[in-house]
């Protein structure tokens, strides 16, 4: 009962959805201000979701089950990640050993659900988007994991709670050279995980017209959107937790907002790269930097 409440109401679904919508509003507002526009009102993401829930649902392929269940898998895993993160932040000793590995695995499921949905749509452009998403996921996971190894080496634990308590005692991971490099790599991987420019190759609106999400309409599209809003909250929050020592005060919330705005500014100042360029970027410079960060961390820098 307690677990269900955690999952559905406070740190879980409802709370993450509300904060995620707020994060999405920040995204759209900052983007608008960068482009010298006014931008949408604060409740806009909420209206979008409510509207989509009330629209007709069209299933284009005979593969109904995969098409309709794909968005739910993604959302369910993001909710679990968010619940675990908040549990850690509220009480660092509440979680279990190895939860960081679980979080890393669960964070890849939104990409996998998008791939499933894209291939189940039976649309050429959706399949193209799905295959791009697959390549992108393969490429950014390697440097992302390398970046996450740095805090693990520094704290000597794979438990999120231990990493947070270590940072409260010894100062944040970001105060060391290896920490800065790892955080920069993780930030760029976040860009790809969230599917925003310069790595929005999978759902390139102007190129393959929303790619994976092309055939989705109504409620499943709303679930995909909601998953994306939640990721806008969860992934930067994960980085804040492991690199900057979590949020405990107004300054802590500021850390999250600054990281989010940084992501948005990178999004707004960079053009979209091609998929081969993205793979080269992540497997080339980013992976080398990741190895460098791990070596520095092993030497205690």
């Amino acid at each position: 009962m307690r677990i269900l409440l955690d999952y559905l109401i406070f740190p879980g679904f409802l709370f993450t959805a509300v904060v995620g919508m707020f994060a999405c509003w920040i995204d759209r507002k900052v983007s608008a201000r960068v482009q010298w526009r006014v931008g949408p009102r604060m409740l806009q993401p909420f209206y979008d979701i409510v509207k989509l829930l009330n629209k007709e649902v069209i299933v284009p392929s005979e593969n109904r089950f995969v098409f309709l269940s794909a968005p739910l898998f993604g959302m369910a895993s993001v909710i679990i990640v968010s619940t675990m993160l908040w549990k850690t932040i509220i009480n660092p000793s509440a979680t279990f050993v190895g939860d960081m590995i679980v979080v890393v695995y669960l964070l890849t499921i939104p990409a996998i659900s998008a791939i499933m949905g894209g291939f189940a749509s039976k649309n050429p452009l959706s399949s193209l988007g799905a295959s791009r998403e697959m390549k992108l996921a393969l490429s950014y996971e390697l440097p992302f994991v390398m970046a996450l190894v740095v805090p693990i080496i520094k704290c000597g634990s794979v438990k999120l709670g231990d990493i947070v308590t270590f940072q409260i005692i010894h100062g944040t991971i970001l105060h060391s050279p290896s920490g800065i490099i790892a955080c920069a790599i993780a930030l760029l991987c976040t860009q790809a995980k969230l599917g925003v420019a310069p790595f929005d190759v999978a759902d390139a609106e102007t190129e393959i017209s929303s790619g994976i999400f092309m055939e989705y309409s109504g409620a499943p599209l709303a679930v995909f959107r909601l998953t994306k809003y939640m990721l806008f909250f969860t992934v930067p929050m994960f980085l804040v937790t492991i690199f900057m020592g979590g949020i405990y005060s107004l300054v802590g919330i500021l850390k999250y907002v600054v990281l989010l705005v940084l992501v948005i500014l990178i999004k707004n100042t960079n053009p979209r790269v091609r998929i081969d360029q993205a793979v080269k970027f992540f497997w080339g410079p980013m992976s080398i930097l990741g190895i460098l960060a791990i070596i520095l961390a092993l030497f205690g820098l």
Partner: protein, 139 residues
């Protein structure tokens, strides 16, 4: 007014469909997205796929090849969907009336909710048209 309709009125996503235009209307539509007019204030967004659309914005004197496509696109859109005929060409075929390849006005093929006249219509006129369409939806 129900909450459901309010939500639709507050976030109309527009699918832009050019059926053989001279591109003037298209340029004016894109002007609406620029900092000067900024229709994202009202939650209006251009979407790339018709499955996401709440409004289908049709421009151009529809030629014979496009008539069938327009019908297909309308059938693919999730209902409720609003159809806007933008520019004189899509309303009455304008000076292409006697041309060999223009079939018929848009409203003979699919039901049109809003007509925005002009050659091309000003961005203000397009915004005003969308607003009137939303008012119509509320009733």
């Amino acid at each position: 007014m129900s909450f459901k309709l309010k939500a639709i009125a507050k976030s109309p996503w527009v699918f832009h469909l050019a059926t053989g235009t001279c591109n003037n209307c298209d340029i004016e539509i894109l002007d609406c997205l620029t900092p000067r007019f900024d229709i994202e204030r009202f939650g209006i967004q251009l979407v790339g796929s018709v499955r996401h659309a709440d409004v289908i914005l049709v421009t151009g004197s529809m030629n014979r090849k496009c008539a069938a496509r327009l019908r297909t696109v309308y059938e693919q859109a999730p209902k409720p969907v609003l159809v806007v005929a933008c520019g004189v060409c899509s309303m009455s075929q304008h000076m292409f009336k006697d041309s060999y390849n223009t079939a018929e006005p848009v409203d003979k093929v699919i039901p049109v909710d809003i007509y925005i006249p002009g050659c091309p219509p000003k961005p203000e006129a397009i915004i005003s048209g969308i607003v009137k369409g939303i008012e119509k939806l509320k009733k």
